[in-house]
Amino acid sequence: MEKHRTGASVILIAIGAALLLYGLSLRAEVAAPSDEQSQIQGQVLVEVPSTPEPPAAQGTVAKDEVKQGEPSQVKPPAKEATKVPATCPT
Protein backbone atom coordinates (compact mmCIF):
# COMPACT_ATOMS: atom_id res chain seq x y z
CA MET A 1 0.00 0.00 0.00
CA GLU A 2 2.75 2.40 0.95
CA LYS A 3 4.63 1.54 -2.25
CA HIS A 4 1.64 2.77 -4.23
CA ARG A 5 1.54 5.91 -2.13
CA THR A 6 5.23 6.56 -2.74
CA GLY A 7 4.80 6.17 -6.49
CA ALA A 8 1.65 8.28 -6.61
CA SER A 9 3.08 11.11 -4.53
CA VAL A 10 6.31 11.22 -6.55
CA ILE A 11 4.33 11.39 -9.80
CA LEU A 12 2.05 14.10 -8.40
CA ILE A 13 5.01 16.13 -7.17
CA ALA A 14 6.58 15.88 -10.63
CA ILE A 15 3.33 16.95 -12.31
CA GLY A 16 2.90 19.86 -9.90
CA ALA A 17 6.47 21.02 -10.40
CA ALA A 18 6.12 20.76 -14.18
CA LEU A 19 2.89 22.78 -14.19
CA LEU A 20 4.40 25.39 -11.90
CA LEU A 21 7.53 25.77 -14.02
CA TYR A 22 5.51 25.93 -17.23
CA GLY A 23 3.25 28.59 -15.75
CA LEU A 24 6.19 30.61 -14.51
CA SER A 25 7.89 30.39 -17.91
CA LEU A 26 4.70 31.67 -19.57
CA ARG A 27 4.61 34.54 -17.12
CA ALA A 28 8.24 35.30 -17.81
CA GLU A 29 7.52 35.37 -21.55
CA VAL A 30 4.71 37.87 -21.02
CA ALA A 31 6.84 39.97 -18.69
CA ALA A 32 9.87 40.03 -21.00
CA PRO A 33 8.74 39.77 -24.64
CA SER A 34 11.49 38.76 -27.04
CA ASP A 35 10.81 40.82 -30.15
CA GLU A 36 9.50 44.27 -30.90
CA GLN A 37 6.10 43.10 -32.09
CA SER A 38 5.31 41.18 -28.95
CA GLN A 39 6.51 44.19 -26.98
CA ILE A 40 3.93 46.38 -28.69
CA GLN A 41 1.27 43.72 -28.20
CA GLY A 42 2.09 43.51 -24.53
CA GLN A 43 1.80 47.27 -24.18
CA VAL A 44 -1.57 47.28 -25.91
CA LEU A 45 -2.92 44.54 -23.69
CA VAL A 46 -1.84 46.47 -20.64
CA GLU A 47 -2.79 49.96 -21.74
CA VAL A 48 -6.13 49.47 -23.49
CA PRO A 49 -8.22 50.94 -20.67
CA SER A 50 -6.52 54.32 -20.39
CA THR A 51 -5.11 55.44 -23.74
CA PRO A 52 -6.16 55.22 -27.35
CA GLU A 53 -3.95 52.82 -29.23
CA PRO A 54 -1.58 54.06 -31.93
CA PRO A 55 -2.64 52.84 -35.37
CA ALA A 56 0.38 50.58 -35.66
CA ALA A 57 -0.47 48.82 -32.45
CA GLN A 58 -4.16 48.37 -33.24
CA GLY A 59 -3.35 45.69 -35.74
CA THR A 60 -1.89 43.50 -33.08
CA VAL A 61 -5.17 43.23 -31.20
CA ALA A 62 -7.79 40.93 -32.62
CA LYS A 63 -11.12 42.63 -33.34
CA ASP A 64 -13.08 40.42 -31.01
CA GLU A 65 -10.67 40.96 -28.14
CA VAL A 66 -11.82 44.48 -27.27
CA LYS A 67 -15.37 45.54 -26.59
CA GLN A 68 -16.09 49.23 -26.99
CA GLY A 69 -16.72 51.00 -23.73
CA GLU A 70 -15.76 48.00 -21.63
CA PRO A 71 -12.03 48.20 -21.16
CA SER A 72 -12.06 45.73 -18.30
CA GLN A 73 -13.49 43.05 -20.56
CA VAL A 74 -10.33 42.79 -22.65
CA LYS A 75 -9.65 39.13 -23.23
CA PRO A 76 -6.04 38.07 -23.54
CA PRO A 77 -5.21 35.32 -26.02
CA ALA A 78 -6.14 31.84 -24.90
CA LYS A 79 -3.72 29.93 -22.65
CA GLU A 80 -1.59 33.00 -22.10
CA ALA A 81 -0.56 33.62 -18.54
CA THR A 82 -1.88 36.92 -17.26
CA LYS A 83 -2.36 38.45 -13.88
CA VAL A 84 -5.58 37.49 -12.21
CA PRO A 85 -7.60 40.46 -10.88
CA ALA A 86 -6.08 41.67 -7.66
CA THR A 87 -9.24 41.61 -5.60
CA CYS A 88 -12.48 39.71 -5.60
CA PRO A 89 -15.73 41.67 -5.84
CA THR A 90 -17.19 42.15 -2.39
Binding site: M1, L12, G16
Partner: protein, 293 residues
Protein backbone atom coordinates in the same frame (compact mmCIF):
# COMPACT_ATOMS: atom_id res chain seq x y z
CA UNK B 1 8.39 2.11 26.25
CA UNK B 2 8.14 -0.71 23.72
CA UNK B 3 4.89 0.80 22.53
CA UNK B 4 6.51 4.15 21.83
CA UNK B 5 9.62 2.62 20.26
CA UNK B 6 8.02 2.21 16.82
CA UNK B 7 7.19 5.92 16.57
CA UNK B 8 9.24 7.94 14.13
CA UNK B 9 11.02 11.17 14.90
CA UNK B 10 8.34 12.97 12.87
CA UNK B 11 5.64 11.52 15.10
CA UNK B 12 7.57 12.76 18.12
CA UNK B 13 7.77 16.27 16.68
CA UNK B 14 4.05 16.40 15.98
CA UNK B 15 3.28 14.94 19.41
CA UNK B 16 5.16 17.87 20.94
CA UNK B 17 3.51 20.43 18.65
CA UNK B 18 -0.01 19.06 18.98
CA UNK B 19 -0.97 20.89 22.23
CA UNK B 20 0.09 24.18 20.64
CA UNK B 21 -1.79 23.79 17.34
CA UNK B 22 -3.97 26.86 17.90
CA UNK B 23 -0.87 28.94 18.62
CA UNK B 24 0.80 27.60 15.50
CA UNK B 25 -2.26 28.60 13.47
CA UNK B 26 -2.05 32.05 15.08
CA UNK B 27 1.63 32.29 14.22
CA UNK B 28 0.86 31.49 10.58
CA UNK B 29 -1.17 34.72 10.43
CA UNK B 30 2.20 36.46 10.33
CA UNK B 31 2.81 34.73 7.01
CA UNK B 32 -0.58 35.39 5.44
CA UNK B 33 -0.91 38.99 6.63
CA UNK B 34 1.65 41.17 4.88
CA UNK B 35 4.80 40.31 6.86
CA UNK B 36 7.29 41.87 4.48
CA UNK B 37 5.30 44.85 3.33
CA UNK B 38 4.69 43.50 -0.15
CA UNK B 39 1.92 41.77 -2.01
CA UNK B 40 2.55 38.55 -3.87
CA UNK B 41 -0.93 38.16 -5.33
CA UNK B 42 0.38 36.39 -8.42
CA UNK B 43 1.19 33.42 -6.18
CA UNK B 44 -1.44 31.55 -4.22
CA UNK B 45 -1.13 30.28 -0.68
CA UNK B 46 -2.55 26.86 0.21
CA UNK B 47 -5.05 28.45 2.59
CA UNK B 48 -8.48 30.04 2.34
CA UNK B 49 -7.74 33.73 2.70
CA UNK B 50 -9.32 36.41 0.52
CA UNK B 51 -6.83 38.50 -1.40
CA UNK B 52 -9.25 41.38 -1.23
CA UNK B 53 -8.14 41.61 2.41
CA UNK B 54 -6.09 44.81 2.80
CA UNK B 55 -3.32 42.79 4.47
CA UNK B 56 -3.33 39.66 2.30
CA UNK B 57 0.16 38.63 1.28
CA UNK B 58 -0.74 35.93 -1.24
CA UNK B 59 -3.54 35.28 -3.66
CA UNK B 60 -6.52 33.10 -2.80
CA UNK B 61 -6.19 29.90 -4.86
CA UNK B 62 -9.95 29.57 -5.22
CA UNK B 63 -10.33 33.19 -6.34
CA UNK B 64 -7.52 32.71 -8.82
CA UNK B 65 -9.04 29.53 -10.25
CA UNK B 66 -12.46 31.15 -10.56
CA UNK B 67 -11.19 34.36 -12.16
CA UNK B 68 -9.02 32.41 -14.59
CA UNK B 69 -12.07 30.31 -15.47
CA UNK B 70 -14.04 33.47 -16.24
CA UNK B 71 -11.23 34.55 -18.59
CA UNK B 72 -11.03 31.05 -20.09
CA UNK B 73 -7.40 30.79 -19.07
CA UNK B 74 -5.58 27.85 -17.58
CA UNK B 75 -3.89 29.01 -14.34
CA UNK B 76 -0.85 26.76 -14.58
CA UNK B 77 0.95 28.35 -11.63
CA UNK B 78 -2.05 28.03 -9.31
CA UNK B 79 -2.81 24.45 -10.36
CA UNK B 80 0.87 23.53 -10.09
CA UNK B 81 1.14 24.98 -6.60
CA UNK B 82 -2.05 23.26 -5.43
CA UNK B 83 -0.88 19.91 -6.81
CA UNK B 84 2.50 20.40 -5.13
CA UNK B 85 1.03 21.36 -1.77
CA UNK B 86 -1.47 18.52 -1.97
CA UNK B 87 1.10 15.95 -3.10
CA UNK B 88 3.41 16.85 -0.23
CA UNK B 89 1.06 17.16 2.74
CA UNK B 90 -2.56 16.79 1.60
CA UNK B 91 -4.89 18.81 3.80
CA UNK B 92 -2.35 19.41 6.57
CA UNK B 93 -2.54 23.15 5.88
CA UNK B 94 -6.27 23.07 6.67
CA UNK B 95 -5.63 21.88 10.19
CA UNK B 96 -2.48 23.80 10.99
CA UNK B 97 -2.22 26.97 8.91
CA UNK B 98 -5.51 28.14 7.41
CA UNK B 99 -6.65 31.48 8.89
CA UNK B 100 -10.29 30.72 8.16
CA UNK B 101 -9.94 27.41 9.97
CA UNK B 102 -8.22 29.23 12.81
CA UNK B 103 -11.21 31.56 13.12
CA UNK B 104 -13.55 28.58 13.34
CA UNK B 105 -11.31 26.81 15.85
CA UNK B 106 -11.33 29.95 18.00
CA UNK B 107 -15.11 30.14 17.82
CA UNK B 108 -15.30 26.47 18.81
CA UNK B 109 -13.66 27.45 22.12
CA UNK B 110 -16.81 29.36 23.05
CA UNK B 111 -18.75 27.09 25.43
CA UNK B 112 -21.90 26.55 23.39
CA UNK B 113 -23.54 23.19 22.67
CA UNK B 114 -21.84 21.54 19.70
CA UNK B 115 -23.78 19.42 17.23
CA UNK B 116 -22.53 16.82 14.81
CA UNK B 117 -22.83 17.19 11.07
CA UNK B 118 -23.89 14.19 8.98
CA UNK B 119 -20.93 12.59 7.23
CA UNK B 120 -22.48 12.77 3.77
CA UNK B 121 -22.44 16.59 3.96
CA UNK B 122 -18.67 16.49 3.40
CA UNK B 123 -19.31 15.69 -0.27
CA UNK B 124 -21.08 19.02 -0.68
CA UNK B 125 -17.64 20.68 -0.85
CA UNK B 126 -17.12 19.11 -4.24
CA UNK B 127 -20.45 20.48 -5.44
CA UNK B 128 -19.37 23.96 -4.34
CA UNK B 129 -16.03 23.49 -6.11
CA UNK B 130 -17.54 22.32 -9.39
CA UNK B 131 -20.49 24.74 -9.49
CA UNK B 132 -19.29 28.04 -8.05
CA UNK B 133 -15.55 27.84 -8.78
CA UNK B 134 -15.37 26.00 -12.09
CA UNK B 135 -18.70 25.84 -13.95
CA UNK B 136 -20.30 29.24 -13.33
CA UNK B 137 -17.20 31.33 -14.07
CA UNK B 138 -16.40 29.24 -17.16
CA UNK B 139 -19.85 29.11 -18.74
CA UNK B 140 -21.09 32.58 -17.79
CA UNK B 141 -17.69 34.22 -18.34
CA UNK B 142 -18.54 36.65 -15.60
CA UNK B 143 -17.32 37.46 -12.12
CA UNK B 144 -20.61 39.22 -11.40
CA UNK B 145 -22.83 36.14 -11.47
CA UNK B 146 -24.72 35.89 -8.15
CA UNK B 147 -23.35 32.38 -7.54
CA UNK B 148 -19.76 33.15 -8.51
CA UNK B 149 -17.68 31.98 -5.54
CA UNK B 150 -16.39 35.45 -4.59
CA UNK B 151 -19.96 36.79 -4.61
CA UNK B 152 -21.01 34.33 -1.89
CA UNK B 153 -17.78 33.73 0.00
CA UNK B 154 -17.96 34.53 3.74
CA UNK B 155 -14.17 34.81 3.88
CA UNK B 156 -14.42 37.64 1.36
CA UNK B 157 -17.15 39.31 3.40
CA UNK B 158 -15.17 39.11 6.64
CA UNK B 159 -11.65 39.72 5.37
CA UNK B 160 -12.29 42.14 2.50
CA UNK B 161 -15.86 43.46 2.84
CA UNK B 162 -15.73 44.24 6.55
CA UNK B 163 -12.47 46.27 6.44
CA UNK B 164 -13.82 48.10 3.41
CA UNK B 165 -17.09 48.97 5.17
CA UNK B 166 -15.20 50.13 8.28
CA UNK B 167 -12.88 52.24 6.16
CA UNK B 168 -15.78 53.85 4.29
CA UNK B 169 -17.66 54.50 7.53
CA UNK B 170 -14.59 56.05 9.14
CA UNK B 171 -14.09 58.30 6.14
CA UNK B 172 -17.74 59.35 6.21
CA UNK B 173 -18.31 57.94 2.71
CA UNK B 174 -21.37 56.13 1.47
CA UNK B 175 -21.04 52.50 2.53
CA UNK B 176 -20.85 49.94 -0.25
CA UNK B 177 -22.36 46.87 1.43
CA UNK B 178 -21.70 43.35 0.16
CA UNK B 179 -24.69 41.80 -1.63
CA UNK B 180 -27.60 40.34 0.33
CA UNK B 181 -26.80 36.70 -0.44
CA UNK B 182 -23.23 37.13 0.73
CA UNK B 183 -24.32 38.88 3.93
CA UNK B 184 -26.87 36.13 4.59
CA UNK B 185 -24.29 33.35 4.09
CA UNK B 186 -21.82 35.22 6.29
CA UNK B 187 -24.45 35.64 9.00
CA UNK B 188 -25.34 31.95 8.86
CA UNK B 189 -21.66 31.07 8.96
CA UNK B 190 -21.07 33.22 12.06
CA UNK B 191 -23.97 31.49 13.82
CA UNK B 192 -22.94 28.03 12.62
CA UNK B 193 -19.38 28.27 13.94
CA UNK B 194 -20.82 28.57 17.45
CA UNK B 195 -22.69 25.28 17.22
CA UNK B 196 -20.66 23.16 14.79
CA UNK B 197 -16.94 22.52 14.57
CA UNK B 198 -15.48 23.94 11.37
CA UNK B 199 -18.75 24.02 9.42
CA UNK B 200 -17.20 25.80 6.45
CA UNK B 201 -14.26 23.40 6.16
CA UNK B 202 -16.40 20.31 6.47
CA UNK B 203 -19.35 21.24 4.29
CA UNK B 204 -18.49 24.06 1.91
CA UNK B 205 -14.78 24.73 1.50
CA UNK B 206 -13.75 24.21 -2.15
CA UNK B 207 -10.05 24.48 -1.29
CA UNK B 208 -10.43 21.78 1.34
CA UNK B 209 -12.10 19.63 -1.33
CA UNK B 210 -9.11 20.03 -3.64
CA UNK B 211 -6.48 19.35 -0.97
CA UNK B 212 -8.38 16.44 0.56
CA UNK B 213 -8.28 14.56 -2.74
CA UNK B 214 -4.52 14.26 -2.20
CA UNK B 215 -4.90 12.74 1.30
CA UNK B 216 -4.92 9.28 -0.24
CA UNK B 217 -1.63 9.78 -2.05
CA UNK B 218 0.30 12.56 -0.31
CA UNK B 219 3.89 12.12 0.82
CA UNK B 220 2.83 12.99 4.37
CA UNK B 221 0.11 10.72 5.73
CA UNK B 222 -1.35 9.09 8.80
CA UNK B 223 -0.15 5.53 9.32
CA UNK B 224 -2.36 3.04 11.10
CA UNK B 225 -0.55 0.14 12.71
CA UNK B 226 -2.92 -2.67 13.62
CA UNK B 227 -0.25 -4.22 15.84
CA UNK B 228 -0.63 -1.38 18.29
CA UNK B 229 -4.40 -1.02 18.16
CA UNK B 230 -6.51 -2.35 21.00
CA UNK B 231 -9.75 -1.19 19.36
CA UNK B 232 -10.44 0.97 22.37
CA UNK B 233 -12.03 3.60 20.10
CA UNK B 234 -10.13 6.44 21.75
CA UNK B 235 -8.90 7.86 18.44
CA UNK B 236 -12.49 8.10 17.19
CA UNK B 237 -13.41 9.96 20.37
CA UNK B 238 -10.43 12.29 19.96
CA UNK B 239 -11.47 13.12 16.39
CA UNK B 240 -13.81 16.11 16.51
CA UNK B 241 -14.92 15.72 12.93
CA UNK B 242 -16.85 12.48 13.12
CA UNK B 243 -14.26 10.41 11.27
CA UNK B 244 -13.18 6.95 12.34
CA UNK B 245 -9.40 7.29 11.96
CA UNK B 246 -8.69 3.62 12.65
CA UNK B 247 -10.82 2.65 9.65
CA UNK B 248 -9.88 5.48 7.32
CA UNK B 249 -6.79 7.35 8.59
CA UNK B 250 -6.46 9.39 5.38
CA UNK B 251 -10.12 10.13 4.89
CA UNK B 252 -11.28 12.78 2.40
CA UNK B 253 -12.99 14.66 5.23
CA UNK B 254 -9.88 14.70 7.43
CA UNK B 255 -8.32 18.14 7.96
CA UNK B 256 -5.22 16.54 9.48
CA UNK B 257 -5.43 18.28 12.82
CA UNK B 258 -3.72 15.07 14.09
CA UNK B 259 -5.76 15.05 17.29
CA UNK B 260 -6.29 11.30 16.81
CA UNK B 261 -2.53 10.69 17.11
CA UNK B 262 -2.77 11.67 20.77
CA UNK B 263 -3.99 8.17 21.50
CA UNK B 264 -1.21 6.98 23.80
CA UNK B 265 -0.95 3.49 22.30
CA UNK B 266 0.39 4.98 19.09
CA UNK B 267 -1.54 2.97 16.52
CA UNK B 268 -1.97 6.15 14.50
CA UNK B 269 1.19 8.07 13.71
CA UNK B 270 2.11 10.82 11.27
CA UNK B 271 4.52 9.46 8.68
CA UNK B 272 6.03 10.23 5.30
CA UNK B 273 6.95 8.11 2.31
CA UNK B 274 10.57 8.46 3.43
CA UNK B 275 9.81 6.47 6.58
CA UNK B 276 8.85 3.14 5.06
CA UNK B 277 7.26 0.65 7.42
CA UNK B 278 8.49 -2.92 7.22
CA UNK B 279 5.63 -5.14 6.05
CA UNK B 280 2.12 -4.05 5.32
CA UNK B 281 0.29 -3.01 8.48
CA UNK B 282 -3.05 -3.95 6.99
CA UNK B 283 -1.87 -7.46 6.23
CA UNK B 284 -0.31 -7.96 9.67
CA UNK B 285 -2.66 -9.58 12.19
CA UNK B 286 -3.07 -7.75 15.50
CA UNK B 287 -0.36 -8.87 17.88
CA UNK B 288 -1.90 -7.33 20.97
CA UNK B 289 -3.17 -10.14 23.22
CA UNK B 290 -6.20 -8.10 24.28
CA UNK B 291 -7.72 -8.28 20.83
CA UNK B 292 -6.24 -11.53 19.55
CA UNK B 293 -8.68 -14.42 19.34
Amino acid sequence: MAIAAHKTRLAGVFAKLQPYRLWIQTAFLAVWLLPIGTRLHGICAPVFHCYGCPLATFGCPIGMLAHAGALHLIPFVTIGLLVLFGAFVGSLFCGWACPFGWLQDLAAKIPTPKFELPRWMGHFRFVVLVVTVLAIPYFFRSVEHPLFICMVCPAGALEAGLPSVVKQAAAGQQIDWPNTLKLTITGLFLVAILFFRRPWCRVLCPLGAILSVFNKSSAFFLRFDANHCTECGRCSKLCKYNIEPEKSPNDLRCIRCLECTRCCLGALTPATILHRQKGSPAATPPANPRISP
